[in-house]
C-alpha cells in the first residue's frame, strides 16, 4: 500500500532522471571531430560525473560547435532563457572547476 508521500517521492526521484527531456540550463561540450581530437570525450564524461555527484540541475549535451582547433575543447554554458557563456581550451580538471563555479547559479535538483 503506497502512501501519498511515497508517491511524491517516486515522482521527484524519477523526474530528475527524465529532466533531460525538458528545456533546461545546459552545459554544451563541443564534440565534433575537432573537439574529440582535442580531448572532448574526457571533458564530457568528467562533466557528467561532476554534475551527477553534485546533484546539479544542469543538463550536459554534446554538440558539434564547429570552432577552430586552437580553441578546442570548448564548453558553453547556456541558461534556459538562452544566455551564453563560452569557455575555451577546457581540460577535464577545468570543466570540474567551471561546474563548481556554476553550482549556485543552477542550483541542485533537490531545490528544482
Amino acid at each position: 500500500m503506497l502512501t501519498v508521500a511515497e508517491l511524491n517521492a517516486i515522482r521527484d526521484r524519477v523526474r530528475k532522471q527524465l529532466s533531460v527531456r525538458e528545456p533546461h540550463n545546459r552545459l554544451i561540450v563541443g564534440v565534433g571531430t575537432v573537439g574529440i581530437a582535442a580531448g572532448a570525450r574526457e571533458v564530457i564524461v568528467t562533466a557528467m560525473q561532476e554534475v551527477s555527484t553534485r546533484g546539479l540541475d544542469l543538463v550536459v549535451v554534446g554538440e558539434d560547435l564547429a570552432l577552430p582547433a586552437s580553441e578546442m575543447p570548448v564548453v558553453k554554458f547556456v541558461t534556459a532563457s538562452g544566455e551564453e557563456t563560452v569557455y575555451t581550451k577546457v581540460t577535464a580538471e577545468g570543466v570540474r572547476e567551471i561546474i563548481q563555479s556554476l553550482a549556485t547559479t543552477v542550483g541542485t535538483l533537490a531545490d528544482a
Binding site: 503506497l2 502512501t3 508517491l7 517516486i10 524519477v14 532522471q17 571531430t33 549535451v61
Partner: protein
C-alpha cells in the same frame, strides 16, 4: 545516480511497429554499443506521437530533434553523428512539404503547431511500460487527491463543472452520468471502459491505451471512488494486441505498488481492474451489447431504459465511459475544472482527438481544442490534399456519421455544430475525400459495413440495411431505376426511428448525408448511367480519341481481352462489348488518347 545525458525515444505504437520501429530500436542499441555510448544514452520505447505518416519516429533529447521515417540502416549515422558528435542529422528531419525546409523541433512542425495535446499529453513522452515514468509525469496524483482530500460528491461536482462530454460519440455530459451511477443504491457497482473502438479508420483510443495506459487505470479508480464501485473492466477489442499487452503490464505494476487493490493510499477505498477482450464485433461498441458480451452472451443490445447506470453488468449499476473521456479525468482533477473549461466552445469544452485519414497529406492523430474549424484541421494541420487535388468532402463520425462538403469547411468542430450541419462528432474519425471519390460508392461502402455488423436482433436494422445496401449496389452497377432515391429515403426514416440501438439508428446517415449534398451524383448514376467521379467500374466506358491516336498499338498489346482493334499507324478502336474496363490501355497510352 545515472550518467545518462541523452534520451532517444522510439515510437512503439502499432503504426510504427508495423513499419519496423522495433528493428530501428535494436539497431540504435547495437550502434550505441559499438561506439561505447550505451551508458550515456537511454533508449526508450514510447507510445504514438500521432504523426503516423512519418513513422517510424525517433525523438532525441535534450535537443528535441524530431526524426522521421527512420530505418534500421539509419541507426549508425544517428548514433555516430548526433549522439557522438552532436551534429543533428538533417536528412532525417521533417521537411515542410512546400518549402522543403528541414524543421528540427517538434513544436515548430506545422502538424503540431495548432494542436493542444491533453488526452495525448504523455503519448510519445514516456515509456508506457514503466509506471515510474507515468508517476514522474504526475500519474496517480489526481487519484491521491480524490481519495485522501475529496468526497465522492466533490469529485463528481468537479467533473460536472468541467463540462466534459462523452468522447465516444454520444457526447453525453460525463459528470451527470457519474451522478446517476452514484445515485443508484447498491453495494455492488461496476466501472467499465469502452475500448472497443470499432469505427473504421479510428485509432485514438488505441494510441491512448498503447501510449499512456496508466491514465486509464487512474481514471477508472477515480470513477470507482466517485460512484462507489470496487471492480472495473476494460473491454478492449482483440484486434489491439499491443494495447492489451501494455494495459496488462500497467495493471500489474499498479497492483504491485498498491495503487490498485485494498486500502488505496491508506483509505477505505478498494478497487481492482480486469481486462475483457472483444471478438471482432462492431456492435459491441454499443454499451448494452458490450455489457452483454462481458457477461458471456452474444453481443446484442437491450432496450433502454433501464440505463446501465441503474441496471447494467449482471443487473448492477454500471458506469461506462469511453477511453478518451477517461483520459481527460486526471487532468481535470489535477488542474481544476475551470482550466479544462477554458479550452473549447461554450457547450463543448476541452479538446478532441481526431484520426485524420483518407486523401490527406498528414495522416495521423491530431488533438485540437473544440471549435477549431474543419478548414484548419484539413489544411493547416493536415497539410492539404495530396497531388494538389480538390477537396470534395470530409466524413465525420464513421459509419454513423455524415459528410461535410466544401461549402461547410468553415464549420467549427464541436458536438452541436456538427449535428446542425447534418453530421455528428462520432468517435473522431475524419476521412478526407478528394475529387476522385464517388459519394454513392462511399455510402455503399459504409452501409456494407453496418449491414455486415448488424447483430440481427431487430427487424428494421437486419432487414432494412440489407435492402438499402441492395439498392445502392444496384445503383453503382448501373442498374438504378427511377424511384430508388425516394425508396432509400423512406427506408432510412423507418430504420433510424425503429432500430433498437445506435448501430441501426445511425446506419442510414451516410446515405442521407450524401443525398443531401451530392444528390446530382445519385441522379447521374441512375438516369444517365454515369459515375461523374469515374469510380464505379460498371459505369465506366473507355474510348480512344481518334485525332490523338497515333496508331502505335501499345494499347492493343496490353489489353488482356483483345478488345482493341486497329492497324499500325491507323486510329485504333475499343470494342465496348469486350472491354472489361480495367483501364490498362489508358494507363499505357503515351499520347493520352484514351479517355473515360
Amino acid at each position: 545516480m545515472s550518467l545518462i545525458r541523452s534520451h532517444v525515444l522510439v515510437c512503439a505504437g502499432t503504426g510504427c511497429v508495423s513499419s519496423h520501429s522495433q528493428k530501428v530500436r535494436e539497431a540504435i542499441h547495437a550502434a550505441l554499443e559499438r561506439h561505447g555510448l550505451a551508458d550515456e544514452v537511454n533508449v526508450v520505447e514510447t507510445g504514438c506521437f500521432g504523426f503516423c505518416r512519418m513513422g517510424p519516429i525517433v525523438m532525441v533529447y535534450p535537443e528535441g530533434a524530431f526524426y522521421c521515417q527512420v530505418k534500421p540502416e539509419d541507426a549508425e549515422e544517428l548514433v555516430s553523428e548526433h549522439l557522438l558528435k552532436g551534429r543533428i542529422v538533417e536528412r532525417l528531419l521533417f521537411q515542410e512539404p512546400v518549402t522543403e525546409r528541414a524543421v528540427p523541433l517538434f513544436n515548430d512542425i506545422g502538424f503540431y503547431k495548432k494542436q493542444k495535446r491533453v488526452a495525448l499529453r504523455n503519448c510519445g513522452n514516456i515509456n508506457p511500460e514503466c509506471i515510474e515514468e507515468s508517476i514522474a509525469h504526475d500519474g496517480y496524483q489526481a487519484l491521491a487527491r480524490a481519495v485522501t482530500r475529496m468526497t465522492p460528491e466533490e469529485v463528481i461536482d468537479e467533473i460536472k463543472h468541467s463540462g466534459l462530454r462523452g468522447r465516444g460519440g454520444g457526447g453525453f455530459p460525463t459528470g451527470r452520468k457519474w451522478e446517476f451511477a452514484r445515485a443508484s443504491q447498491d453495494s455492488i457497482k461496476y466501472v467499465v471502459c469502452n475500448a472497443d473502438e470499432g469505427d473504421p479508420g479510428a485509432f485514438m483510443d488505441r494510441s491512448i491505451l498503447e501510449g499512456d495506459p496508466h491514465s486509464i487505470v487512474e481514471a477508472m479508480a477515480i470513477a470507482g471512488y466517485a460512484i462507489g464501485a470496487q471492480q472495473g473492466y476494460v473491454y478492449v477489442r482483440a484486434e489491439y494486441p499491443i494495447a492489451v499487452e501494455r494495459l496488462s503490464i500497467a495493471i500489474k505494476q499498479a497492483r504491485e505498488l498498491g495503487l490498485l487493490g485494498n486500502n488505496i493510499f491508506g483509505s477505505d477505498f478498494c478497487f481492482d481492474l480486469g481486462i475483457r477482450l472483444g471478438a471482432g464485433a462492431f456492435v459491441c461498441g454499443e454499451e448494452t451489447a458490450l455489457l452483454s458480451s462481458i457477461e458471456g452472451h452474444r453481443g446484442t443490445p437491450r432496450p433502454r431504459p433501464p440505463y446501465p447506470a441503474v441496471k447494467g453488468l449482471w443487473g448492477k449499476p454500471t458506469l461506462i465511459n469511453n477511453v478518451e473521456t477517461l483520459a481527460n479525468i486526471p487532468t481535470i482533477l489535477r488542474h481544476g475544472p475551470d482550466q479544462f473549461a477554458a479550452t473549447g466552445t461554450e457547450k463543448s469544452k476541452g479538446t478532441k482527438v481526431f484520426a485524420l485519414a483518407g486523401n490527406i497529406n498528414n495522416t495521423g492523430l491530431v488533438e485540437v481544442p473544440m471549435g477549431t474549424t474543419l478548414r484548419e484541421i484539413v489544411y493547416d494541420i493536415g497539410g492539404g490534399i495530396p497531388g494538389g487535388k480538390a477537396f470534395k468532402a470530409c466524413q465525420t463520425g464513421g459509419p454513423s456519421g455524415g459528410c461535410l462538403p466544401t461549402e461547410l469547411l468553415d464549420t467549427p468542430v464541436d458536438y452541436d455544430s456538427l449535428i446542425a450541419a447534418g453530421s455528428m462528432m462520432g468517435s473522431g474519425g475524419l476521412i478526407i475525400m478528394d475529387e476522385d471519390t464517388c459519394m454513392v460508392d462511399v455510402a455503399r461502402f459504409f452501409l456494407e459495413f453496418t449491414q455486415e455488423e448488424s447483430c440481427g436482433k431487430c427487424v428494421p436494422c437486419r432487414e432494412g440495411t440489407k435492402r438499402m445496401l441492395e439498392i445502392l449496389q444496384r445503383i453503382t452497377k448501373g442498374e438504378g431505376v427511377d424511384g430508388d432515391i425516394e425508396l432509400l429515403e423512406e427506408l432510412a426514416e423507418v430504420i433510424s426511428k425503429a432500430s433498437l440501438c445506435g448501430l441501426g439508428q445511425t446506419a442510414p446517415n451516410p446515405v442521407l448525408a450524401t443525398l443531401k449534398f451530392f444528390r446530382e451524383e445519385y441522379e447521374a448514376h441512375i438516369k444517365q448511367k454515369r459515375c461523374p467521379a469515374g469510380v464505379c467500374q460498371a459505369l465506366l466506358s473507355y474510348h480512344i480519341v481518334e485525332d490523338k491516336c497515333k496508331g502505335c498499338g501499345l494499347c492493343k498489346k496490353v489489353c488482356t481481352v483483345d478488345a482493341i482493334s486497329g492497324d499500325l499507324r491507323q486510329p485504333h478502336r475499343i470494342n465496348k462489348d469486350k472491354c472489361i474496363k480495367c483501364g490498362a490501355c489508358a494507363a499505357k497510352c503515351p499520347f493520352k488518347a484514351i479517355s473515360r
